[in-house]
């Protein structure tokens, strides 16, 4: 296998290069002005370590896989095109009003609860760029009012006169019957055909999202239109650079659905947050390779802490209505919970509880923690870690970032110790304890709310800040084993290198499996079977467009089911792709019952209220060759030698402990280090807390185990 995988993050561009049996990792700073520059620099470093030229590598790799934040940046910078929205007359205010609650989407709990201080984000489509057209489709897909040709033409002209550079057409109930959206597209194309210079891209909502709910579907289409040009040009530029360097195959883009596809089969919306999702996908694979069926994947960076789950039952967790930046959209995204907890999280004394609180406010990387000396005056998690002795003032991040312990001490003393009446060390301990508790509570809720017991899981810890805190939050959860994965600092890029080609298509429907009012079961299977067949066909077409052979294509059918009129729609992987008998219906009901009970408790199921399918989702995929993460070096039972010692303080121990410090290269596969100990790598530090032991594992992985 020869494969280049790149994940472009906010600060670093990570590269993972698999070249036959050799795996190489590299990093470069992200170049926001031209992402291709950082991409090529990271790739160049990897090739250099491999001892090959970039041109040779690119000419010989099977695939270049690419995860990017380009879309997110475009949203933040608001540099997309001027989008004109055509919607059903009467619905013009749906987008500006954001379902009322939208003011808080993407914000912290504290910001959401502050109603007087609430501000909606600057709109992507301002009010004058939204027009209503006379038409109406009812919930069954029956036209209650047909499209008026002249009305559409005049509204389109109005938008063009106001400078529209892209059209979004989002009409009510279009997912049940898209005829009106298609008709509007036809009319627009007759005014502005694609072959003329004045052509304007048109996005129809039903092609972007298959679910009912007009606001979130419209926003999905708006984001798609808004990001389309930026993404397309960015990708094209990169592809050109790759071609110039000898790459001949299509570039593959990582999707936030845990799959990937070529540029011609990718919606802009599918690329958002693809990096963290790739990390979770790597966790999924690691779970199989390391035979650890239950994994809580945690990624602690500078400002955020991502939590994802891999479970033995193989349940796929999606967020069907994720918030992208400040916008609620409708797209099935692999579920990750993000907590505002990272090295830059700001600590403060809370007068109300006479206690220390940490986050969600973050100093980020600019100005960053007080110890960075870049203007940050407030104490952060990193400052506490420095004061407690976990970080080396002289060798932080491999010496790339200079830190100043005195500044950290001053910030903690001023903002924590003085108001709380604590000593410097107790103040720093309180910060560490609270950060660990915040992360543990967030993990607990994420795991427990899905019906699992955290104690049955192993924690996977990656990202720059994770390995310092992993023992801390694992202890609070009662979890005794933490795995630091191979290539942990480029883990998301590794995940990108390990994904399948995959497409998801879904459709809303109202299909009663059991009608509680009439006390009848579903007898006519036509709608179910035809819907699955239609979605399968769309997936096959997507993959066929990428030269995948029909016999390679695999299909998974998932159903969102609900009891009565509940909000909860539980995703159920259907063992059947077609229904043929009443027994099949019972099989679905049983499967749903098991999943529901797991999440909400045995006995909480309410089939008496009726059971229905709300969404059918078909996952079409082709499996790609996987990496081998169990490569072994020469195991040794030798004791590693510490490079130095320093005093460290730990929250539950009153006195400082003299702690051995190791260089990571000195701790080889099979070696064991008992806590307290620090293992320093160029990119992070592993903190082995007292009572824990670290053992180096396969491919550079490490196990932390509590006695």
């Amino acid at each position: 296998m020869r494969r280049v995988s790149v994940d472009i993050g906010g600060t670093f561009t990570d590269c993972f290069l698999a070249y036959d049996s050799r795996y190489v990792e590299a990093k470069a700073l992200t170049t926001h002005h031209n992402l291709a520059a950082g991409f090529m620099e990271a790739l160049g470093k990897a090739c250099e370590e491999l001892g090959e030229s970039v041109q040779t590598v690119l000419a010989n790799v099977d695939a270049v896989r690419y995860g990017t934040t380009l879309g997110t940046n475009s949203l933040i910078q608001r540099n997309g095109p001027r989008v004109g929205l055509l919607t059903t007359a009467g619905f013009e205010s749906s987008v500006p009003l954001m379902r009322a609650r939208g003011y808080g989407d993407g914000l912290s709990d504290a910001e959401q609860t502050d109603l007087p201080g609430a501000d909606r984000p600057v709109p992507l489509v301002p009010i004058p760029m939204i027009v209503g057209i006379r038409e109406r489709m009812d919930y069954k897909g029956v036209s209650a009012l047909a499209v008026d040709d002249e009305d559409v033409r005049s509204q389109v002209r109005r938008l063009v006169d106001q400078g529209a550079q892209a059209f979004v057409v989002a009409l009510t109930n279009a997912v049940v019957n898209p005829a009106h959206e298609i008709e509007v597209e036809r009319i627009i194309l007759s005014e502005y055909p694609t072959h003329v210079l004045g052509a304007i891209p048109i996005v129809l909502s039903h092609r972007v999202a298959g679910r009912k709910a007009e606001y979130s579907r419209t926003m999905s289409a708006v984001l798609d239109a808004y990001l389309h040009d930026q993404m397309y040009h960015g990708m094209s530029t990169l592809e050109i650079v790759l071609r110039q360097n000898g790459y001949k195959r299509p570039m593959l883009l990582v999707h936030n659905t845990s799959g990937m596809a070529q540029l011609n089969s990718t919606h802009a919306l599918q690329t958002i947050h693809s990096g963290p999702v790739a990390g979770l996908e790597a966790s999924n694979y690691l779970s199989a390779q390391f035979k650890e069926p239950n994994i809580i994947a945690t990624d602690m960076g500078g400002t955020s802490f991502d939590i994802g789950l891999v479970t033995a039952d193989g349940v796929k967790f999606y967020d069907f209505n994720p918030v992208i930046d400040r916008w609620l959209v409708s797209t099935p995204m692999t579920y990750l919970h993000t907590l505002g907890a990272g090295g830059g999280s700001i600590a403060r004394y809370d007068r109300l509880w006479d206690a220390v609180e940490v986050g969600p406010a973050s100093a980020g990387s600019d100005p960053g923690p007080a110890c960075y000396g870049r203007g940050g005056k407030l104490p952060t998690t990193t400052d506490a870690n420095l004061v407690l002795g976990y970080l080396d003032e002289q060798n932080y991040a491999g010496g790339t970032i200079k830190i100043n312990k005195r500044r950290a001490e001053r910030a903690i003393d001023e903002h924590i110790c003085k108001p709380a009446g604590l000593s410097l060390i107790d103040g720093a301990k309180a910060i560490k304890r609270k950060v660990d508790a915040n992360m543990a509570n967030a993990i607990f809720k994420e795991v427990a709310v899905k019906g699992y017991n955290p104690k049955n899981f192993v924690i996977l810890s990656y990202g720059g800040g994770g390995p310092i805190h992993a023992c801390g939050y694992a202890s609070r959860l009662g979890i005794n084993r933490v795995l630091i994965p191979p290539f942990s600092s480029v883990f998301s890029a590794l995940g990108a290198g390990n994904m399948d080609g995959l497409h998801i298509h879904e459709k809303s429907l109202y299909l009663m499996l059991y009608d509680a009012t009439r006390r009848t079961m579903l007898e006519d299977f036509t709608v179910f079977n035809e819907t699955v067949a239609e979605l399968e066909q769309r997936g096959r077409e997507d993959l066929a467009r990428q030269d995948v052979k029909p016999e390679q294509i695999k299909i998974r059918v998932e159903l969102d089911m609900r009891y009565g009129n509940q909000l909860a729609q539980i995703g159920v992987t259907s063992p059947l792709s077609r229904l043929a008998s009443m027994q099949d219906v019972i099989t679905l009901l049983d499967r749903f019952s098991v999943n529901y009970a797991q999440r909400f408790g045995e006995g909480s199921q309410a089939p008496e209220a009726g059971v229905r399918i709300n969404v059918i989702r078909v996952v079409s995929y082709v499996e790609h060759e996987r990496l081998d993460l169990r490569q072994s070096t020469q195991r040794t039972d030798e004791k590693p030698k510490p490079t130095s010692q320093r005093q460290c303080w730990f929250p539950e121990i009153s006195e400082a402990l003299m702690t051995d410090v190791y260089d990571y290269q000195a701790v080889r596969e099979g070696m064991t280090v008992a806590g307290p100990a620090l293992i320093e790598t160029p990119r992070t530090t592993y903190l082995v807390e007292p009572g824990w032991t670290l053992t180096m594992g396969l491919s550079g992985s490490a196990w932390l185990v509590k006695a």
Partner: protein, 751 residues
Amino acid sequence: MGGDKEKSIIEKFLEENVLFLGPDPEIMEDHSVVPTTPREAEALRTFTDPDQINLVRHKLQTACNESFDMVEQMGAAPGAKWGDLISGVWTANGDLAMASMGGVLIFSVLTQHPVKFILKYWKDDPTVGLKDGDIFMHNDARYGNIHNTDQSLVIPVFHNGELVCFTGAIVHEGENGAIEPGGMPSAAESPFDEGLKMSPIKVGENYEFKRDIMTFLQNSVREPKLQLEGMKSKFFAAMRMKSRVEDAIAEYGVDAVVATLRKTLTDTEAEVRRRLACWPDGKVRTNVFADGTLRENCLIRIRCELHKQHDSLIIDFRGSSPEFLNRPNNTVLASLKGMLAQEFLSFVWPDLPRNQAVFAPMTVLTDRKSALHCSPDAPNAQSMMTFFPGFTAIQIGVPKFLYSSSHRATDVIAGWYNMIVTFLYGGINQYGELVGNVCADLNGMGGAARWNRDGEHSLAPIFAPMADIGEQELIEEEVPLIKIVPHRLMKDGEGFGKFRGGHGYQQIATMKDSSMWGFMCCSIGSKFPTTYGIFGGYGPGSLPLCKVKGVNVFDVMQDSRDLMRYTIPEIMNERPFSGAKYSTHHMGLQLEFAQPGELYMITQGGGGGYGDVLERDPALVAKDFLDGLLSMRSVQEIYHVVLDDKTGAVDVDATEKARDAERQMRKARGKPYHEFVKEWETEKPPRDVPFYGSWKDRALIYRGSPDDTCPADDIRSVMMPNPKDVRIAELEAQLEALRGGADVERANRRS
């Protein structure tokens, strides 16, 4: 027999011969936190580290949020889906110590009462008792909560035989078998018209619902499916939270949990007192008027005086309207307190924790049998019609204190829009099921103007952050209600000001595919605005219910699509459907059956404005004009801005001249205060407006006429005539007059 002994015998007899355990004023009128018990004091001595307590608190808070998510996900009621609920942990004394971050915060203060009732009456009653595995429910607002549509469920948590706390949830379930569907009957004329009335009742044992009681409850409402799902969701959320409390006990010990719950309450109250101490001492008086009972128009006075002294606040509503014994707009005192707490939790100190201690430093004064402190005989299903204005009364008063306070947790604002302008519905849906509930549109109340910027349009209801107005496609899938216009911003629907309030939206609804379908509405403010601006800002306008009957717009539009208009003013002014009947009403609509394609139209109001309109930045006026939010008339006559109606370009010089001219006009119109008072003030309320409440003297209450009064300390409840009887009497009088005229004419002819 000695006096004491005799007294004791009488007390014993009375205690043993209680007709029934009705709402207990001792519980219902006390909103203070129960004093620290010896058990709590012991726990606090054992578990002292504030940081450790904070860790336990965070763990329990996570549990509250987790269970909130569960109820929201598992609940079938529209209210549950938009977050009209709360989940929490009560101390062993019944105080709500911790609650979910999301949801309706009014519940924070008024969920304690049913729990305290259980502790006082059922715990030691051999026929009921309180033991591990018990499940209690309640919905009668006279025993706590807001109105009967809210159902609460709590379970006790024991540890080694010791009652540690209660866990549970309260949800606005909607349908409850009242005289009208949907749970909030504006037609109710007595508590017995208000549907299900559960006093705190044991509905299950050994962690299982009793099937007979479940059946009874399902049998009492129109939506048995909803009742079942609602009970299950609350119970399993309470169980999940119980399990988390047990985890916390296992990790930190039972003392830690007891100490944390107590300290959370104590610390919260102390913090509120510290914050109040930052306000200047003094009194602020406000007056707010409700303009109807939902059955008839009248003026209901809400009189309010805020008296801040050191670290406490007295909120004095004495002198407000008397209760209406046959109208549902009366407020139980505890509900009023819940709503007042909302002001502090959401609009003054949104950073405070959600528990009942937030309101402990406040004192509320009311007259018994007033509309804000009604007797158990008065219906209260639409108490929002008096306690929302009560809320506004303090909301427009508090900025006077905050303006010069040394501590502020958020922006100072004008009056938020305060009415639940939405459709309630009932009937047969497209699947043949009998349904009744309320639409989520009430959650889009217009945000108030801030001290430094405009208010946001249709942002949130006054009772909950992050509430959802929903998605029309999902609503249409479940009920045959079609919104021609689900939410469309209303031109001029703001409170004008230097910074304007956010706009509300208009809604145009109709029905399709049902054999029987009815609409209801329950808002006031069609004649007199319900919220106000501050420091010179305007209140929003008053808004009627409009109807177009006798037409099926879908039929008409098949041939004439251009007939449809998408704003209420256009439909009502242009009357595009010939032969249809157009009418306007106040927004108290009792269940009215609709025919397919008939239009029902209402408008959510805007927030109040802040500051003088002449100080508004002309560029902001121009932007609102271009966004279609402001008419040229308002541009010119309210803001006195001169701009180009095509481009929105502001003529700066002309605007300055227009504003100078208006300032001169103001001076010309102005007069000394004493002259104004002399002209304005009357001894009694006017005869032509039915006025309820005190006029000059708060001790004397008017009962709808200048000739009908009662003392405030001995209020006589008001009985309103049936509006249909009133109408019949009017018509009969007209008929009589016509007949009389005819008789005269006949007599004249004869003569």
